[in-house]
Symmetry: C2
Subunit: 163 residues, 2 copies
Amino acid sequence: MGDGPAIDGPAVQDTYPDDVAHCYGCGRLNEVGHRIKTRQLGDGTVTEFTPKDFHTAIPGYTYGGLVASVVDCHSTGSAAIFAMQRGGKVVGSEPSPRFVTARLEVDYVLPTPLSPMVLTGRLVEIKGRKATVDTHLSVDGIVTAKGLAVLVEIPEDRFRARS
Amino acid sequence: MGDGPAIDGPAVQDTYPDDVAHCYGCGRLNEVGHRIKTRQLGDGTVTEFTPKDFHTAIPGYTYGGLVASVVDCHSTGSAAIFAMQRGGKVVGSEPSPRFVTARLEVDYVLPTPLSPMVLTGRLVEIKGRKATVDTHLSVDGIVTAKGLAVLVEIPEDRFRARS
């Protein structure tokens, strides 16, 4: 991450309540998932992720679905961090809110090499239960994808009936 | 699929040239991938896909990254089918063109149950090497996600150097 601000504090996904921590993309309780981890970085967020050899598109590059997945979970995690910040709370001090995605946009600016990627998140807007997060995904310092996601905080009593 | 038009012909992903058939989402040569299959259906396209138990978001629902992945590969496959149709060619008669995604938009209209899903594709526009495909993803007949993707056909001599 170079000489920028230090990555600060625990991953927000490690502070989700247990019953919403099974996401294949980022749930700490999903034993076979990607376990994406998003942390505060200055006034933004950061996720570092290394794809597996088999996450290929055209040989040597990461398939678009994984890029979208990582942008998606990074965005929900970022929204949770920004919501904690708005409330004057420190990530890790209590269970964090859990956002889900209402809309996801990904621009594939360049093919993404099948290599470690860094995603940085920036808050565009947070209003009520809705947040908009802007993401840059880069490999070796070169931005290969840009994301814009609209996230909505789950009310605590919803989505928990189906099993 | 009810009483609509019959699903017609081979999956387009089974007609991709070997060196571009390794996509984790839809490559027939990716041994651990999703192997998404897209076929012609009337003047549109269709993909049927069943998520695994571990592809969960909130328990009981499919995580957003998989929804995006399936929309993505369904869209690239649909673009290939529409390009074949434009050229007056039948899918399976020769190797199909290979599209990659330039832009992906997904609207998560409702939570998508962790159940078999059907995606239908419709050509919005095809112009030169660029196609735009509109997708509806449904479970049990209820549309839970909508996609819009811009796809670009890979020139035959590109993307094949990196390995």
